[in-house]
Symmetry: C2
Subunit: 416 residues, 2 copies
């Protein structure tokens, strides 16, 4: 892996380079990321996110029927108005691990609760990594205590937490923002991990979002769901929804702004949605072996569901993804994938643009210079596919990575 | 490509080696395959299948909304009791080619009809290859005349026709059988092409089946549909259903056996189903860059649809397919893919075998030797995945190819 995303395309991947930006961290949160001993490398594998105050917590979880034990437990707790911490381990998913896995997961929560002098049901847990192996629970117990002792509120602390949630990610994924309304401010900071097994409706991706705004859990839950539906549920790497996916939002009310005000609520949802979308796009951009981020925009569909189904069908086509990897404006594969979707689509009213070049117009091939389009694909990390499927009102976007020999080599050799 | 299917696994691919077996060809059919000038290589690119008698014709076509012009026209003609010939070109799909494509397709039928002194609507056409380019119609017209002049009823003639339908296939796919009932016989001979873009519910695969049995078109159509549902609709390479897929059956009544007899009809359907299944499995076995055929059997499902959905979900998982390519018994990816299917599934009653080795039993990892299972995967071209998902009565099978770096390299470079 290493730098394959950069070397297998002559373009630069702008999604990799904002991770050292100054962060806007929310008040009264502390963070840590350490190596506790799960990963054989010395890479960080345990993160903790702690709030001084009880938080409203909202969450969206994987729809896979083999849910990790951490997800099963969290789902019984959230939405909640009383969460204080999230413990995350990477390197081991604690999924398909039977009763011992359930016990180990509870020990994670209890250990953090003991050290923080709170109740275990004020702690949520997340795990990501290999399926079907038991956690090294003693190392994790020691690690949780050390992480809490090492935690702090600086950019470095948040950055170490972001590093510690990674598995096959090449770089950490962070985003933050501060918004000021009538002289008062709130902040949102979030980190995510992705890389492989990324599919619509959650995948092996985790995202932890911390904010100091005030919001009721009952309002936070639908707000987060809407933001996730337009971001993390619109990305894929290979279309697989994993056992462990979760997006969790903690809001600790440390700022003086509260979402019981409509203007503040609106501004918060807008800011949250932007952060989710920024982080979401970083995930296929860092897809295993990816040399392009592919953005797919469907316009002119009869309804949102049709637009979405067509976008997902194109995004999940190995033929489209390999063509983009080869900088090949192979429009036949794209329209054929669209025609393969279970949605209304009139071939005669279909048009297609790749990186803004008209390739197919009203059901007929257009005159275009394949070399020029190919060079544009080669020169840009992001390949834009815009397909018109009729004259309806609905549009949908989806983002995916291309499919390179490096992806396959990596996934043949990496035992998840 | 070349011999990658053989060299990237230490096993041998038994699906490649029966193509020189003696064929059981039906009476009063002639065949030809020639190079007419579509492919830049000198490879054969035009095939013809002609019956001396009018045939009952049944067909199953792609469900892609961008249907090739040949499929649109055929679908207006079949089922029919009056077909005499099928003309097939490879190297160009004549799909997304507008009115000129429609005209060219009609010229193919008219040219064959003129040379055979029959009506154009007694001729079906099939095309496969690149999308969106116009056919070199003059070369094809000349080629059709030459092919009819060169046609004959020998194994060599049938073999040349089977060669001429190939695109990125590494070897021709043929199967035939003769059955004798009370001293009378019928024969079925069929050839197929596949390789890339193979998905459930037809894909860029063509299959032409010729038989000398007597059968009404109204009976042939549901019989063929059932055989296809259990064979060609249960295979995938990368899950894409193309613009041009078709399976066509011609029955010319030259034998003295007729399907108006229940025993004969039963024997015919059984024989047809076996031939379809044999040919269908050859397609993912010859998937672009494939080093394994993967067979997936789901047992214990509540109903057929659930079994089928789970089998397809596993078959379409890039993570499962890359793991098999790496001879990695990565069961976490398999159960996670199953859990991802839109079907009822109780994780606690799930069990999994790979090549007969119990890997996961009643929701828990089993003790097994990963090296032994991996060696078994390496030693066999076919990897068998058997997953129990409950104690229901329904089972389903599906076949797919693994996903190798060669597949991706090939599909990044080959402009379909």
């Amino acid at each position: 892996m290493g730098t394959s995303a950069v070397t297998s395309s002559s373009s630069t991947n702008e999604f990799a380079f904002d991770s050292r930006a100054k962060l806007e961290l929310p008040q009264k949160f502390t963070f840590a990321g350490i190596h506790c001993g799960i990963k054989k490398s010395k890479a960080a594998d345990l993160a903790i996110f702690v709030s001084e105050n009880p938080c409203a917590a909202a969450a969206v979880y994987t729809q896979n029927k083999f849910r990790a034990t951490s997800i099963d437990r969290n789902a019984q707790i959230t939405p909640s108005s009383n969460i204080r911490a999230i413990v995350v381990n990477s390197g081991n998913a604690n999924a398909c691990t039977g009763n011992q896995g359930v016990d180990n997961n509870l020990v994670m929560a209890e250990t953090a609760a003991g050290k923080l002098s709170i109740n275990a049901d004020q702690v949520l847990t997340l795990s990501t990594g290999i399926i079907g192996e038991q956690l090294p629970i003693n190392e994790i117990k020691n690690g949780i205590v050390l992480a809490i002792e090492a935690s702090g509120s600086s950019d470095r602390h948040f950055g170490e937490a972001a590093n510690a949630v990674m598995t096959s990610d090449q770089w950490p994924k962070k985003s933050s923002a501060r918004r000021t309304i009538n002289g008062q401010s709130f902040s949102i900071a979030a980190c995510a991990k992705g890389a492989g097994m990324i599919g619509p409706n959650m995948a092996t991706m985790l995202c932890v979002i911390a904010t100091d705004i005030g919001i009721e859990a009952s309002q936070a839950q639908p707000t987060l769901q809407r933001a996730v539906d337009q971001s993390f549920n619109r990305i894929s790497v290979e279309g697989h929804t994993s056992t462990n996916d979760a997006v969790i939002l903690l809001a600790n009310s440390a700022a003086s702004l509260n979402c019981d005000d409509a203007e503040i609520s609106h501004e918060f949802e807008k800011c949250l949605s932007e952060i989710c979308l920024k982080l979401a796009k970083k995930i296929p951009a860092d897809g295993e072996g990816a040399s392009h981020l592919i953005s797919i925009q469907v316009v002119g569909a009869d309804d949102l569901e049709s637009a979405d189904v067509i976008a997902r069908q194109i995004a999940s086509s190995a033929l489209v993804k390999t063509a983009v990897a080869g900088n090949d404006p192979n429009w036949g594969r794209i329209v054929s994938a669209a025609g393969n979707a279970k949605a209304t689509l009139d071939p005669k009213s279909c048009s297609l643009k790749i990186n803004g070049h008209a390739i197919f117009v009203a059901g007929n091939p257009a005159e275009f210079d394949p070399t020029e389009v190919s060079q544009s694909m080669k020169a840009n990390f992001e390949t834009s596919i815009e397909i018109t499927v009729g004259d309806g009102p609905a549009t949908a976007c989806h983002w995916t990575s291309d499919l390179t020999p490096e992806y396959v080599r990596f996934n043949s050799e990496y035992h998840t």
